[in-house]
C-alpha cells in the first residue's frame, strides 16, 4: 500500500550529509564547557575552567550576566557549541522528513483503527541485523509494543493464535526488520585511538573519566544509520501496510558524542522508532513536535 520511491537515493543523501558533517566537528570541545557547568559535579568544574583557560575559547559566556531573554539567546546562538548542535538537529529533521517521505500518513490513518487488536509472532517476524555482538532483541520488542500500544492505541494481544480466533478487524505484525549500518573502518580507528589516549592519560595520572568525557566531546562521533521496517496485515481484509522509519544517533546534550558503537546503534534505533512514533501520531490526527534540548536554564527570578 505504501508507494515505493527511490529509497536508496534519499537515504544516501542523509548519509552523505552525516559524512560531510563528521569532518567538521573538530572544534566541538571548547564551547561545551560553559553549558556543562550547570550539570557537572563541583570537582569537574575546576577542571572545565582550566581547560577553557588553556584552550582560549573564542567565546566566554556567564549566563547569569545576561540581562534579558533575547540577550541570552543571542549569546547562546553565537557559540560554536550551538552551531554544532544545530547541525545535529538538522540531521534529525532530515531523517524525520525521510521517514515521512517513505510513508503515506493519510493511508496509515485509514489503515490502523485504534482499539483494534494487534499481535505478532516474534519468532517468525523479527529480524535484527546490527554490527554488534550484543542482542538488541528485547529493546526492539519493547519499542514495537510501545509503538502500537501507546502511540497507535491498538490493543496488544500477546497470543497470536488467540488473536487469529477473534472476530472482526484485527491486525498481525508480519515483519519487523531492523538494520543498522555503521562505518566499520572508522569505528576501528576510533576505538584504537581511544585506547591509546586513555592509556597515555592514565600513565600521566589524569582522571580517566574526565579524559573520556573530553574524548566524548571531540570529533569521535560514531555514525550509524538505522532502518526499521514493519509490515502489518489486516487479517480481515488481507491488506498490508509497510511502515519504514529511519534514525541516526543524535545526542546533543553535554556529552554530545557517542564514543561507543553499541550506544550509537542504540541511539540510531531509538531515533528510527521516535520518527515512526511521530509519524503514527500524525496519522491519528495529533500535531507533534519533538526536539533534543540543547540547554536547560533556570527561570529568571
Amino acid at each position: 500500500m505504501v508507494e515505493k520511491v527511490t529509497e536508496k537515493e534519499a537515504a544516501r543523501g542523509v548519509i552523505n550529509k552525516l559524512v560531510r558533517f563528521r569532518g567538521e566537528v573538530a572544534n566541538a570541545l571548547v564551547p561545551f564547557l560553559f553549558l556543562s557547568l550547570a550539570q557537572k559535579p563541583a570537582d569537574s568544574r575546576n577542571f572545565n575552567e582550566e581547560v577553557m583557560k588553556a584552550l582560549k575559547p573564542p567565546t566566554e559566556i556567564e549566563l547569569t550576566i545576561a540581562q534579558s531573554q533575547k540577550e541570552l539567546v543571542e549569546l547562546i546562538a553565537s557559540t560554536s557549541y550551538v552551531q554544532q548542535t544545530k547541525e545535529i538537529a538538522q540531521f534529525q529533521i532530515d531523517v524525520r522528513e525521510l521517514t515521512e517521505k517513505f510513508n503515506n500518513i493519510e493511508m496509515i490513518g485509514k489503515f490502523l483503527v485504534p482499539e483494534k487488536p494487534i499481535g505478532i509472532s516474534w519468532f517468525y517476524a523479527l529480524t535484527i541485523n546490527v554490527p554488534s555482538r550484543h542482542n538488541f532483541e528485547q529493546f526492539v520488542r519493547n519499542k514495537v509494543q510501545d509503538l502500537f500500544i501507546e502511540t497507535a492505541k491498538t490493543k496488544w494481544i500477546p497470543d497470536v493464535d488467540a488473536l487469529r480466533r477473534l472476530e472482526g478487524k484485527k491486525y498481525e505484525i508480519s515483519k519487523v526488520f531492523v538494520k543498522v549500518e555503521t562505518e566499520e573502518r572508522r569505528n576501528i580507528m576510533i576505538e584504537f585511538l581511544r585506547d591509546i589516549i586513555l592509556r597515555e592519560a592514565e600513565k600521566r595520572g589524569s582522571r580517566r573519566d574526565i579524559i573520556y568525557e573530553i574524548l566524548d566531546r571531540l570529533s569521535l562521533r560514531l555514525n550509524a544509520f538505522a532502518t526499521v521496517e514493519i509490515e502489518i496485515k489486516d487479517l480481515e481484509t488481507h491488506e498490508s501496510l509497510i511502515l519504514r522509519g529511519f534514525g541516526v544517533p543524535h545526542k546533543v546534550g553535554p556529552t554530545i558524542m557517542s564514543i561507543d558503537r553499541d550506544l550509537a546503534i542504540l541511539e540510531a534505533i531509538t531515533d528510527a522508532f521516535d520518527n515512526l512514533k511521530n509519524l503514527l501520531k500524525k496519522a491519528i490526527g495529533q500535531r507533534v513536535y519533538q526536539s533534543n534540548v540543547f540547554m536547560v536554564v533556570p527561570n529568571f527570578k
Binding site: 550539570q39 533575547k70 548542535t85 531509538t270 490526527g285 536547560v296 533556570p298
Partner: protein
C-alpha cells in the same frame, strides 16, 4: 525551567499543548548497551518564545530545579522535549 531547542520548521505549537520532557540514558552496563528513559516533567504549555533569526525556541516550564537537582535528574543524559496536541 527554560528549555532551549532548535526550531527550524514552522512553529506550530500553541498554549494548551501537552509538553513532556524526557531524560534518556544510553549506557554500557555489565558490558551491555542499555537504554533508560524517565520523565523529567510534564506540563501544559503556557509560555514560549521563538527567535526566528537564530531558530531557537525557548519553552518555559513551571518547575525550577536547582543545580543539584539537575545534576541528579539529568546527569549525562539526553533531554528530549515532546509537544503534542489533538487537531481540532
Amino acid at each position: 525551567m527554560r528549555y532551549f531547542v532548535f526550531q527550524t520548521e514552522e512553529t506550530k505549537i500553541k498554549p494548551g499543548d501537552k509538553v513532556r520532557v524526557l531524560v534518556r540514558n544510553y549506557e554500557i552496563k555489565n558490558n551491555k548497551p542499555e537504554f533508560g528513559e524517565k520523565i523529567l516533567e510534564e506540563f501544559v504549555l503556557e509560555k514560549f518564545d521563538y527567535y526566528p533569526e537564530v531558530n531557537i525556541l525557548v519553552i518555559f516550564s513551571p518547575a525550577n530545579f536547582s543545580e543539584q537537582e539537575l545534576v541528579k535528574k539529568i546527569g549525562q543524559g539526553e533531554v528530549i522535549l515532546q509537544i503534542e496536541s489533538n487537531v481540532s
